[in-house]
């Protein structure tokens, strides 16, 4: 066992971190009261594409772990970028690069709300007994306006799946596995960013003459939170590495369950300012909220965990 990045992985990681750090500025809504729904990292997208980072999963000498690092590191930015579908789920599922962004959805969610669908060029659908991969060209997509800090869309009408590329029944568990890992990675990143942001704030902010972060009630909750965050991170990386059903379900489960307490704690400790749209915190908060309900939420992951662990016997 070796839980450090290899020197190659370290180099890839550092390059990604460097690129992401160049694109951390969020346009301010100012006093217009027009809420910023999300900021898409278009320039970062181009930079990463130029460096062929979206193809890490299929690059010789690289694979799922390297792609996982990309998903995680880009996910820490307040700007949003679709990497889980394009760099992780898509290539590992189909063995090829797909036109980006890639939206992934369950059949029953297609007409409700799907992350990235209004921008996506590829749509991967879990049909229950099969997986369809289709181009979004010609699909009737309606953008959904929400405050959830992701581009969202829904299909006005269901497409003809018989005409779409189908991966077969065996691809269903594979898709779910990859999707769960992607979900856990994105969650780990946003959780870490929200806790980091909050930790920095409570060190500076004074109340009753002391930093907010010197109160034990604050310290203990943030400490419990960082334990959760680190757990999500490691569970997600392990799952990316192993590709196992149980690892993937556990990572997604732990991730989705960690969201609620961390959302509330980070907002509680950022005080009133954390509630304003001029603060950065809400970008991660809203993203996490949406991630929390994906794939049926924690209860679905719990059922998958139990099935992968104690089925039979």
């Amino acid at each position: 066992m070796d839980l450090e990045l290899t020197s190659d992985q370290r180099a890839i990681h550092d390059a990604i971190v460097q690129m992401v750090s160049n694109h951390m500025d969020v346009p301010r809504s100012g006093a217009t009261l027009k809420p910023v729904e999300y900021c898409y990292a278009d320039q970062l997208d181009r930079d990463l594409a130029e460096g062929e980072f979206f193809s890490l999963a299929l690059t010789e000498g690289c694979g799922a772990l390297e792609a996982a690092l990309l998903v995680y590191e880009t996910g820490r930015s307040p700007l949003v970028l679709e990497t889980a579908g394009a760099a992780f789920i898509g290539p590992l599922l189909t063995g090829r690069d797909l036109p980006r962004p890639v939206a992934v959805a369950r059949l029953e969610d297609l007409t409700r709300a799907v992350r990235f669908l209004d921008r996506a060029r590829t749509l991967i659908v879990d049909l229950g007994d099969d997986v369809a991969v289709l181009s979004t060209d010609g699909l009737a997509v309606e953008p959904i306006h929400s405050m959830f800090a992701y581009p969202l869309g829904r299909l006005m009408t269901l497409p003809d799946f018989t005409a779409a590329e189908r991966l077969g029944a065996a691809a269903v568990p594979r898709l779910r596995r990859l999707w769960r890992v992607g979900l856990a990675l994105e969650t780990a990143a946003a959780l870490q960013a929200a806790v980091d942001f909050t930790t920095a704030y409570v060190k500076d902010r004074l109340v009753f003459g002391r930093p907010v972060g010197s109160y034990q009630a604050v310290q203990h909750r943030l400490s419990a939170d960082i334990q959760r965050v680190r757990a999500v991170y490691w569970l997600a990386l392990k799952a990316a590495w192993s590709g196992g059903d149980q690892d993937a379900a556990l990572a997604a489960l732990y991730a989705q369950q960690a969201i609620t307490p961390i959302n509330y704690d980070t907002h509680q400790f950022n005080g009133a300012l954390g509630m304003t749209l001029e603060h950065t915190l809400h970008f991660w908060t809203f993203r996490l909220r949406l991630l929390q309900g994906e794939m049926g939420g924690a209860r679905t992951q719990a059922a998958a965990t139990v099935a992968a662990t104690w089925a039979g016997a």
Binding site: L33, M147, F148, F208, G209, H267, G271, T276, Q292, G293
Partner: protein
């Protein structure tokens, strides 16, 4: 011990319900943006003489016991119409206790009739929970008080008439002993109001004071004497601050929504809803304690802290549960659920943070100085 209602109270409640029916949903999640509607509503309350239910009769009030105000505002919360206005509550009750005859004559009548809207100017960027550290200064000069500083977190300042301003008139080191209460005209020269958007979809304001002049006769009570008055007025308003039917309304929204989606057939959801139902009942029990503890200050203070904490814990638990049920229908802005969730995030901050409430219970209830 008795849990019963007098026929007069029942009759009053019936009248309240009938009166409120056409106004249902005005305030949506209680911080709605329809300020014109809100003004019209407060004026209608004024016509009923319901803004002054608890004021003494000789100040134009009805002199009724707190349960009447409670019944009114509790129903109001259930119908998501409005919160008790600052004007008829803290402002009027402080003027009644501490104001001069001239001040009573000037302010009480337009407040009673619902013509004046007040906004609260307590918090500052560097003084949220710790009000004794606030810095906005009022210097007394020949033309009155000259005010400089910044206030924040004032919910409806952009649509109100006056600000109930807590400011520093004493030395900085004087902490709570150097604060005064002033009534500031929100259109006064030198006062700039900057609205900011909140995650809840609502707005709050930053207020910048640049040599704003306030006449001396708009100071309520003695100079440097605000702290005691603030605490007294807080005590006066405890029974209407966090009405349990606000919590009930949130619960009913989520429960009905879950049932409409068939989620209650799922045993996990079902058990969670039952837990929440009991949380809601506990909030009613805490409200009952607040309502019946009036006059016993320690008991009332513990009960009020518990009530605030229980209410915010519960509305957050309700909203979390709704989101945890985790179906995409919960996530679109059209669903009541996500609005509820966004709104409740901030509930544990306003009106005394959860940590401060817990600290009050620990100190006064258990003698633990945390």
């Amino acid at each position: 011990m008795q849990l019963a209602y007098s026929s007069a109270e029942r009759a009053f409640l019936a009248e309240v319900r009938a009166f409120l029916a056409p106004w249902r949903g005005l305030g949506q999640y209680l911080q709605g943006r329809d300020h014109a509607g809100l003004r019209a509503f407060y004026k209608a309350l004024g016509v009923k003489n319901w803004l002054s239910l608890g004021w003494p009769v000789d100040h134009g009030g009805r002199g009724l016991p707190p349960i009447y105000e409670f019944l009114l505002w509790d129903e109001m919360a259930h119908a998501r119409i409005a919160r008790p206005p600052l004007s008829a509550g803290i402002v009027a009750k402080t003027i009644i206790r501490y104001g001069t005859d001239a001040q009573k004559a000037r302010w009480l009548e337009p407040i009673r009739t619902g013509e004046l809207m007040f906004s609260l100017g307590y918090s500052e960027p560097e003084a949220g929970s710790d009000l004794a550290s606030l810095r906005t200064r009022a210097e007394l000069g020949p033309e009155g008080y000259r005010i400089n500083g910044t206030k924040i977190w004032s919910s409806s300042a952009q649509d109100s008439d006056y600000l109930w301003l807590l400011c520093r008139t004493g030395e900085v080191a004087s902490r709570a002993a150097g604060l005064s209460l002033l009534i500031v005209d929100l259109r006064a020269p030198g006062l700039r109001i900057r609205p900011m958007a909140k995650m809840s979809g609502n707005v709050f304001c930053e207020l910048f004071f640049d040599d704003v002049i306030v006449p001396v006769d708009q100071r309520i009570g003695p100079q440097d004497g605000a702290w005691k008055m603030m605490n007294a007025s807080l005590a006066d308003e405890r029974h209407v601050q966090f009405p349990p039917k606000r919590v009930l309304a949130d619960y009913e929204t989520v429960r009905d929504w879950a049932m409409a989606h068939g989620l209650d057939r799922d045993p996990v959801v079902r058990e969670r809803l039952a837990e929440l139902a009991v949380d809601v009942l506990e909030c009613q029990a805490h409200a009952l304690r607040v309502l019946t503890a009036q006059g016993d200050d320690v008991r009332a203070s513990i009960a009020a802290a518990a009530n605030k904490r229980a209410s915010t814990d519960t509305i957050q638990a309700i909203a979390r549960a709704a989101m945890d049920f985790g179906i995409p229908a919960a996530l679109t802005t059209a669903a009541p659920i996500e609005q509820l969730w966004r709104q409740t995030l901030e509930e544990s901050l306003g009106g005394g943070t959860t940590e401060i409430m817990t600290s009050i219970i620990a100190r006064q209830g258990l003698g633990l100085k945390a």
